[in-house]
């Protein structure tokens, strides 16, 4: 197939590394997302460990104040944009098409593009440690990010890599919105969608509506920094509060972008290991939708101490407290699901139960912040990191770990060690409480966050020491997770198709699923259709492996392509070109990158999804 402007033979059956580079299989992209994001999670963990070491005692000198500022900024940005979001994206990729009975996502090449763009943005952000990373906090409040305050390239790397990550997330979210609406198997109505898919759908909607706001805020900041515009320039009448508003208009929906997929995972795991359907399926879906909707009406609770006035503070106090209602509904539904079930305490179940407990604690301190008068006391103290870690570590990460173990047999085709899994759960459960619970105490004792050290005699030494000690328990716990996953992925026992006696469609196919997922597209008759099928008469045992290897011969799958990675690479070069815009010829590097990107996009859009000429070789 000759394509304008460049003609390269299409990778039809690539092998080895090329197989991964040109892949557009949602399962492989999911694994790529998962592995990359887990590495990023560990790097964010190292940053956190360094901070905790520095704070272990008063007036320590392990890192300098400047490095400490970079550490907390990079830790926050990494954990949110490079760890939790892409770990969720890994599950979206792997699980959603399987749960809705599809052979792939709606736009397989766009999906590959999302991953490679994410990788580019992630590398760019992490590599900014060379030469000084951003140090203005993950929220990048103006005027800390102005050229006058912060002349180095750290902020530039932060801005531009966030834009690149934004493109990746937007592309992925458009893809999943269309996939979930339009790729469902026959009979899979919206009210038969598995909960994880539902929550992912809401997340994707939130994301496509919230990310443009941060895109605009970052563009404004870029123009301020590069061309001396006045957006956040107080000397010319600009308002630094506008940055805060734009940031949190994005930032609060972002919180739900992080937690809704986690809630979805838990809503999958609890019914399976309780052998009961989810209690109040419709209510849980509706509560999720209400959370997604109300997530837009609470952003100024991050700004209670800015001085927005009594009316604004009162309004946002009320809306913030209201959003606790649908969240509470979910918690009650989860408890109702377990109630009276025949519970199996496998590792995924343990992590999900841990999620409920920890997320509840985080929710309680969240309601405390919601009272604006109370929040004035807590603002910028360690009480806030305590809250955020209970909801994002105790919440999101626990649920993600639950998902990692729950779907492990499916994506790896092997079984993990249940014993190691359980030990790692107890270590992580203990570790996080030892690490994060004392932050409540020092916070209420007035210890500010984002300080690199403190003097003796403030009464903060003991609990800070305890906190740092907890980190080591966490490290052991996560090392055990890595060992468990890594070793058993390679040489664990082969997994059956449905090891958990589960309820959703992904368990009705072999582990790992064949490239085409479903030999026959399933017909869905009810909620938890796979469970119902197993109770019926026409149920047949699923073959453990892909069968004789001859199945799926006539199934036409979208073919691999070079162009997504080319387009993403162009974007990556262009992003560097924007940061180093005065290298040799001004803006030349950015222009080169954009040209590569355009060639990639053009060739991609002219390349048919399936090459008719080369299809015959299949």
């Amino acid at each position: 197939m000759s394509t304008f402007p460049i003609s390269i033979p299409r990778p039809v059956h690539p092998t080895g590394i090329w197989n991964w580079i040109t892949t557009i299989d949602h399962k492989r992209i999911g694994i790529l997302y998962g592995v990359t994001a887990f590495i990023m999670f560990l790097s964010g963990g190292i940053e956190a460990t360094l901070m905790r070491l520095q704070l272990a005692g008063p007036e320590l000198d392990i890192v300098s104040a400047a490095v400490y500022n970079q550490l907390f900024t990079m830790h926050g940005t990494t954990m949110i944009f490079l760890a939790v979001m892409p770990l969720s994206a890994a599950f979206f990729n792997f699980v959603i098409p399987l749960q809705i009975g599809a052979r792939d996502v709606a736009f397989p090449r766009l999906n590959a593009f999302s991953y490679w763009t994410f990788l580019g943005g992630a590398l760019m952000l992490k590599l900014s440690w060379i030469g000084g990373a951003t140090d203005a906090g993950w929220f990048g409040y103006a005027p800390l990010t102005s050229v006058a305050q912060n002349p180095g390239t750290g902020i530039d790397f932060w801005i531009i890599s966030l834009q690149v990550l934004g493109i990746a997330s937007l592309a992925a979210s458009f893809n999943f919105i269309v996939t979930i609406i339009n790729m469902r198997a026959p009979g899979m109505t919206m009210m038969r969608l598995p909960l994880f898919t539902w929550m992912s759908f809401l997340t994707a909607i939130l994301l496509v509506l919230a990310f443009p706001v941060i895109t605009v805020a970052l563009i404004e900041l870029t123009f301020d920094r590069y061309f001396m515009f006045n957006f956040f320039n107080v000397a010319n009448g600009g308002s630094v509060v506008l940055w805060q508003h734009l940031f949190w208009v994005f930032g609060h929906p972002e919180v739900y972008i992080l937690i809704l997929p986690a809630m979805g995972i838990v809503s999958e795991v609890l019914p399976v290991f309780s052998k009961k359907p989810l209690f109040g399926y419709k209510t849980v879906v509706l509560a999720g939708a209400i959370i997604a909707f109300m997530g837009w009406m609470v952003w100024s609770h991050h700004m209670f101490t800015v001085g927005l006035g009594a009316v604004a503070n009162a309004v946002f106090t009320v809306t913030t407290m209201l959003i606790a209602v649908p969240t509470g509904i979910k918690v009650f539904n989860w408890i109702g699901t377990i109630w009276g079930g025949s519970i199996r305490f496998n590792t995924p179940m343990l992590f999900s139960l841990g999620f409920i407990a920890m997320f509840l604690l985080g929710g309680i301190s969240g309601v405390m912040h919601a009272v604006s008068a109370h929040d004035a006391q807590q603002q910028d103290t360690y009480f806030v990191p305590a809250h955020i870690h209970y909801v994002l570590f105790g919440g999101a990460i626990m649920a993600i770990l639950s998902g990692i173990f729950y779907w492990f047999p499916k994506y790896s085709g092997k079984m993990y060690s249940e014993r190691q899994g359980k030990i790692s759960f107890w270590l992580i459960m203990l570790g996080q409480n030892v690490t994060f619970f004392p932050m409540h105490f020092v916070g209420l004792d007035g210890m500010p966050r984002r300080i690199y050290t403190y003097v003796e005699g403030m009464g903060w030494e003991f609990w800070n020491g305890v906190s740092t000690g907890g980190v080591f328990i966490l490290i052991i716990g996560f090392l055990l997770v890595v060992v468990n996953i890594g070793r058993h992925w390679k040489n664990g026992e082969p997994a059956p198709a449905d090891p958990w006696d589960a309820r959703t469609l992904e368990w009705s196919i072999p582990s790992p699923p064949p490239e085409y997922n479903f030999e026959k597209i399933p017909i869905v008759r009810s909620l938890d259709d796979w469970w119902e099928t197993k109770q019926g008469l026409d149920y047949k045992e699923v073959p453990a492996s892909g069968g004789s290897g001859n199945e799926g011969h006539e199934i036409h799958l979208p073919q691999p392509s070079y162009w997504p990675i080319v387009a993403a690479f162009g974007l990556f070069i262009a992003a560097y070109g924007v940061v180093f815009n005065d290298l040799l010829i001004p803006w030349a590097l950015a222009a080169v990158g954009l040209t590569i990107g355009f060639i990639g996009v053009y060739s991609w859009s002219l390349e048919p999804v399936n090459d008719p000429e080369e299809d015959s070789t299949n």
Binding site: T189, M190, L209, V213, S239, H245, V249, W296, L308
Partner: protein, 101 residues
Amino acid sequence: MSQELSAKEHTGHPTAGQYFRIAVILCAITAVEVGIFYLEFLGHWMIPILFTLSAFKFALVAMYYMHLKFDHKLFTYMFVAGFILAACVISFLLLLFGVYS
């Protein structure tokens, strides 16, 4: 969003003549807008009047040129969701910055 939504609701598309008539209306409204704009006695009434007129233009283009009127309702929901949310965010920000007071 389930099967029943796939029911086809197409009533055919406007003809070239209809497209042209819509263009005439759009231009007429724009002319009226510019005209109204010079009527200083309207005072603050000008804002709601101009808003209504441009909303009408917006709706005409979206419904006929972007054929939302003839397409699946889902497309309308997708677009209108973004539009309403954007309008709300703008209004709330203006409220918080005290622009109305």
